[in-house]
């Protein structure tokens, strides 16, 4: 099994620290979700993990080899970034076809037949200039590059941004199809968490430049409870448990609990216990603490 490992990654821009001594291990053959708030450092992390951006400190290794400027390691990695078509980037004049041609020359295992198939599946016109595409269509181009790169570790930054609900569903089915056929490893960052939750085997939560949590998605969701009731009852039922994001209105209180192995909500209290979805867990972990 291959492993991509980040050790003590730190990235600073001037006096701003974006990543702070971050450690992360990604194993091959999984679909990972990278979630975090705006500015949490997701894109910076993905760009460092793919040699597109140097770390200020720390290193990234693939099966023990440092990936920095290492062609052999880079042939196994693909980070299909969100396309920036501003005037300075010079990309807006490229046609879809020429952009894909450039990508093809960059990726060692490029699959042109797959690129052609996705271009037609997404209804993209090869001759159209990138500058004329909508945000959703640009996402389709980046998804096409990511899939056709056939890279063993493929990173997708906000692949569904701007896509309509039908295209988003299409993307997740495509991702699963490619994953089940090839066993490639995917890291997908997204803000539309609930739609992606069932597809992600493991979720990595990034907060303020650190990994807040990395866990099997279903296990995390199964361990979460939302407990509500009279404040004293809720406090009693959740005493000693891993509580997050308490919210109170008058005498009532609600709190998100992440149960550790073997734990349960304490019995004997008059409270309502409900399941919590991944999106709510994320808010409980990364949202601003409400004053109670």
């Amino acid at each position: 099994m291959s492993k991509l490992v980040c050790e003590n990654l730190t990235k600073t821009y001037g006096d701003k620290t974006v990543l702070s001594k971050l450690n992360l291990t990604l194993e091959s053959g999984r679909i990972y979700g990278l979630i975090g708030r705006n500015g949490a450092g997701k894109t910076t992390l993905l760009s460092i993990m793919s040699n597109q951006n140097p770390a200020s400190a720390g290193r990234v290794t693939l099966d023990g080899e440092n990936i920095w400027e290492n062609r052999r390691a880079l042939d196994r990695l693909c980070f299909s970034r969100e396309l920036n078509i501003s005037a300075e980037s010079g990309l807006s004049g490229y046609s879809v076809k020429n952009y894909l041609k450039t990508a093809a020359s960059y990726y060692a295992h490029w699959d042109q037949a797959m690129a052609d198939r996705l271009v037609s599946l997404f209804g993209l016109t090869p001759k159209t200039k990138l500058g004329k595409l909508s945000k959703g269509m640009l996402s389709m181009v980046t998804v096409t590059v990511a899939m056709a790169s056939k890279a063993e570790f493929t990173f997708l930054d906000e692949p569904v941004a701007g896509l309509d609900v039908v295209a988003r569903e299409q993307f997740y089915k495509l991702l699963l199809e490619e994953y089940t056929e090839t066993g490639r490893t995917f890291v997908v960052s997204t803000h539309i968490i609930e739609e992606a939750a069932d597809v992600l085997e493991e979720v990595v939560i990034l907060d303020k430049g650190r990994i807040l949590r990395q866990q099997n998605t279903q296990e995390l969701v199964d361990s979460a409870r939302y407990v509500t009731g009279l404040r004293e009852q809720v406090d009693g039922a959740t005493e000693g448990l891993d509580c997050h994001h308490p919210e109170a209105i008058g005498r009532s209180k609600g709190v998100t609990v992440l149960l550790r192995d073997g734990e349960d909500i304490r019995p004997g209290f008059d409270v309502t216990v409900q399941p919590v979805n991944l999106q709510r867990i994320f808010v409980a972990l990364c949202g601003e603490e409400a004053p109670v």
Binding site: L176, T180, Q218, D222
Partner: protein, 123 residues
């Protein structure tokens, strides 16, 4: 297999329960192949590992069995097994919930029995 997934319960449990329900309804027949984890993953847009967990639950319960290199099949007697297990769960879980709610509403045992008989006559 065409039910929708909800957020109230673990996905793998829903997968195993949907397959069970399909066996009870005769949508999946005994000794017939069930969809593979990859097929289920694509159908429901879920991770194949989650689908596999649901399938394995049914293998452990003796409801599905594996034919090497071919896939998962519905075991003989699976429907009866599911029915008796659900019956037990009905008595142990649903009935006790019903009785607890009845008690908190002050419904007496006699009133409850009378209601059940009345419902039964209408059916």
């Amino acid at each position: 297999m065409n039910q929708r997934l909800t957020e109230d319960k673990s996905i793998y449990l829903q997968i195993s329960q949907m397959i069970e329900t399909d066996i009870l309804r005769g949508i999946l027949l005994e000794e017939e192949r069930v969809p593979s984890t990859n097929e289920l993953a694509k159908l429901y847009t879920i991770n194949p590992a989650t689908a596999a967990k649901g399938i394995n639950l049914l293998v452990d319960a003796g409801i599905l069995y594996k034919k090497r290199g071919i896939g998962m099949f519905v075991a003989a007697g699976a429907a009866e097994k599911i029915r008796s297990r659900r019956k037990q769960a009905f008595y142990e879980v649903r009935l006790s919930e019903l009785l607890a709610e009845a008690q908190s509403l002050g419904i007496t045992k006699e009133e409850l029995i009378e209601q059940i008989q009345k419902e039964g006559r209408q059916k």
